[in-house]
């Protein structure tokens, strides 16, 4: 009896010990900025004066601010257009690459990660050239097939699609590698048994692979939710002039709006309030997505 509880306590101590490094690093480097941001959200503060307490005024103003609602609309639109196809594509890609007999397997695995490391300037130039209104390759193709060219950047849906393409391009390979690593751990015997039972490849994928990598799926869904709702790099690239998200804010995202208020308008209080609103949205939507994905049959 005593032995067991001693073991239990040892296990507890180990648990705290093994998880403490994160909390240590967080306490030193992560906590202060968060507390500070929350504190500033209840103040009016710009570089020209001292912070002034204004309570909930920032939040009240935000509720009335059409720019926030446009940004929220854009953020969700871009999220759906970019995150869902990206994860599906990544799953499919990982499934393909998990056939270890594919020739040049390590070659493909390296290649799909290249978008993730391509420099922002190169991305801006290439996509700018592909999707230029007058001389872009995509519009050229459209006209070849009899369609009229699209002003990608200035349209609302078109700019969302363009941004989503850029995001999908950049992150699919990344997620594919995550899935691939998880798929490697699925026991071969399961597939063998299914094969014997006459299950098709697709069936095996649905009934074996997906449930077996369920924890990883949950992970990617949550992480992509968090990341997808905070997209700002691609919209920033698209609007060469600044953080506005286009002349009619057609692709302004909440994070971009936050940066605009913080680093372009220098209204730190207002920007911090946006940060809190964004955090709330991220938490809520992450919980929602988690509940959706959780329904995948446990392995």
């Amino acid at each position: 009896m005593a032995n067991k509880s001693r073991l239990k306590r040892a296990e507890e101590r180990t648990g705290y010990l093994y998880t403490s490094p994160f909390f240590l690093v967080f306490a030193v480097f992560g906590l202060f900025p968060i507390i500070y941001t929350v504190w500033v959200a209840f103040h009016q503060w710009d570089p020209f004066g001292e912070p002034t307490w204004i309570g909930l005024d920032n939040f009240v103003a935000l509720a009335d601010d059409p720019r926030l609602w446009i940004a929220i609309r854009n953020t969700f639109s871009i999220w759906i257009l970019s995150t869902v196809p990206q994860l599906v594509l990544a799953l499919f890609l990982a499934w393909m690459l998990s056939h270890s007999r594919i020739r040049g397997n390590t070659f493909w695995r390296s290649l799909i990660l290249v978008p993730n490391i391509t420099s922002v300037v190169a991305v801006a130039v290439v996509f700018g050239q592909l999707f230029g209104r007058d001389y872009g390759m995509v519009n050229w193709l459209l006209t070849v097939f009899g369609f009229s060219p699209i002003d990608w950047v200035n349209g609302t849906l078109s700019s969302h699609i363009l941004i989503s393409i850029m995001v999908i391009w950049r992150w699919t390979g990344y997620n594919a590698l995550i899935y691939l690593a998880a798929m490697q751990a699925v026991p071969e015997e399961l597939y063998e048994a299914a094969e014997v039972d006459g299950a098709s490849k697709f069936r095996q994928f649905i009934s074996i692979t997906i449930p077996q990598i369920r924890p990883t799926l949950i992970f990617t869904v949550i992480v992509s939710t968090i990341g997808g709702l905070q997209i700002f790099a691609e919209p920033l690239i698209l609007d060469g002039q600044g953080y506005g998200g286009g002349v009619s804010r057609q692709f302004s995202t909440v994070t971009l709006f936050m940066f605009e208020q913080g680093f372009s308008r220098f209204e730190y209080g207002y920007a911090s309030a946006i940060a809190i609103v964004l955090a709330t949205i991220v938490v809520a939507f992450s919980i929602f997505n988690f509940l959706v994905v959780r329904r995948i049959q446990k392995a």
Binding site: F48, D134, D151
Partner: protein, 431 residues
């Protein structure tokens, strides 16, 4: 298991090797770049290392080396960041660890002017004597409402109109630059000529209406704020209204292509537009993007005087470690002699008035631009601008107007709607 361990071991070895090597390489590169042989910021106690933050390579590498050679106890380390992060970072740093010297671009100077007390008053180091050397409207960028001199000007970006003489010829317009300059003494004339060009060729004249806006808004003695800085006049200043109306009027002759986009770069080559308002530094860019069009581009004067696009101030934050040394360097590198030297080496147009009588500057021609005497063209234009107060919310106001013009160009709003929405947005953000 083996591969994982091996990988860990290999990486650990690589990391330690890198650590050792970087230590060695650091010292090595230190001593090879620094003739004195000391290791810079770490150990040498009689050497003062000044940190210099900039938003671009300002062409100062040789001048810095010259200064360091003449002052062996001083070493200047420059760090270039992206444009906006540079200024935001500088602002962030002002209350804790700051650089000794920083460059603030003209567009941001109004913001920093509002916190000018966080910078050293360079008058304490004798900068007041230098005032007469500079264009007064450029000098004004570095002086706040109390007369504190928080920055000294670097170069200017004087504007002229770069035009495609070959396309002008096709449209039946004159091609000689003096004749072309005579075509448009006023902006209204400019737009009319543009209309003629569009009717004759079917192509756009300008790349975007923003060019008209950017020029006209600066061609007076008041812009968005009153001259004494006490009130906002963006909605009452007739010059601003005129700038707006002219820009809107230019919509039919503009191609609605954003600056620095792929279409804009292509347009330099393929005639999507025939004119560009170009400051001195733009010439190098055009040359780089359209090398095959040498001689087809030429330079004429801008309507109603000049314009400015670019230039910066060098400042010394109040919390700098070596303010006296920093001030000394700034005064030296921005003096009339050095600015002229820099022009001859790198083409940065001086803000020091003495340079404008320098025969070499006046005689400076650009082969690419059909041997245009750009030295004298710019020197003329640069003298016409007036000192003009820019306030803390300068960029905010400008951005709103710019977006509004964009919406007009896209056909999303009528000019009146766009103007009203801009005013409304500015009122909400600024007052």
């Amino acid at each position: 298991m083996f591969s994982k361990k091996k990988w860990l071991a290999v990486s650990a070895a690589a990391a330690s090797a890198a650590l050792v090597l970087s230590g060695c390489a650091g010292t090595e590169s230190e001593s090879s770049s620094n003739a004195g042989g000391s290791s810079g910021s770490s150990s040498d106690s009689n050497q003062k290392v000044l940190q210099f933050w900039a938003f671009g390579d300002m062409g100062l590498a040789e001048l810095i080396a010259e200064y360091e050679a003449a002052n062996p106890d001083i070493k200047i380390e420059m760090k270039v960041s992206d444009f906006d992060p540079h200024h935001q970072g500088l602002l962030t740093s002002l209350d804790s660890t700051t650089p000794d010297i920083a460059a603030i671009e003209v567009g941001y100077s109004s913001l920093f002017k509002a916190v000018s007390q966080k910078f050293v008053d360079l008058a304490e180091y004798g900068a007041a004597d230098m005032e007469g050397d500079y264009l007064d409207w450029r000098w004004a960028h570095g002086v706040d409402l109390d007369g504190r001199i928080f920055g000294i000007p670097t170069d200017v970006g004087p504007m002229a109109v770069c035009y495609r003489s070959d396309l002008f010829a096709e449209a039946g317009l004159p091609t000689d630059r003096d004749e072309v300059s005579a075509l448009w003494p006023t902006w209204e004339d400019f737009i009319e000529v543009g209309g003629q060009y569009v009717s004759a060729t079917g192509n756009s004249f300008l790349s975007s209406t923003g060019y008209v806006w950017n020029a006209v808004k600066n061609q007076s003695d008041e812009k968005f704020y009153s001259a004494d800085g006490s009130s906002l006049v963006y909605d009452t200043n007739p010059q601003i209204k005129r700038a707006w109306d002219l820009s809107v009027a230019a919509t039919p002759i503009a191609a609605n292509i954003g600056d620095w986009t792929a279409d804009w770069n292509a347009g330099m080559n393929n005639g999507a537009y025939a004119v560009l308002t170009c400051p001195a530094w733009m010439m190098g860019y055009i040359q780089g993007q359209a090398p095959d069009l040498a001689g087809a581009w030429d330079v004429a004067a801008m309507p109603e005087g000049g314009g400015n696009w670019g230039g910066s101030q060098l400042v010394v934050p109040a919390r700098a470690k070596y303010p006296a040394e920093a001030a000394d360097f700034i005064k030296w590198v921005l003096s009339a002699d050095k600015q002229l030297e820099l022009f001859k080496a790198k083409g940065q147009f001086p803000s020091t008035v003495a340079a404008y009588s320098d025969p070499e500057l006046l005689g400076f021609e650009s082969e690419y631009f059909n041997n245009a005497p750009i030295g004298s063209i710019y020197a003329e234009g640069v003298n016409t601008l007036l000192p003009l107060y820019e306030g803390p919310k300068e960029r905010v106001i400008d951005t709103e107007f710019g977006s509004a013009l964009g919406r007009v160009a896209n056909g999303e709003q009528t000019p009146q709607e766009a103007y009203d929405s801009a005013i409304e947005a500015i009122k909400r953000d600024v007052g």
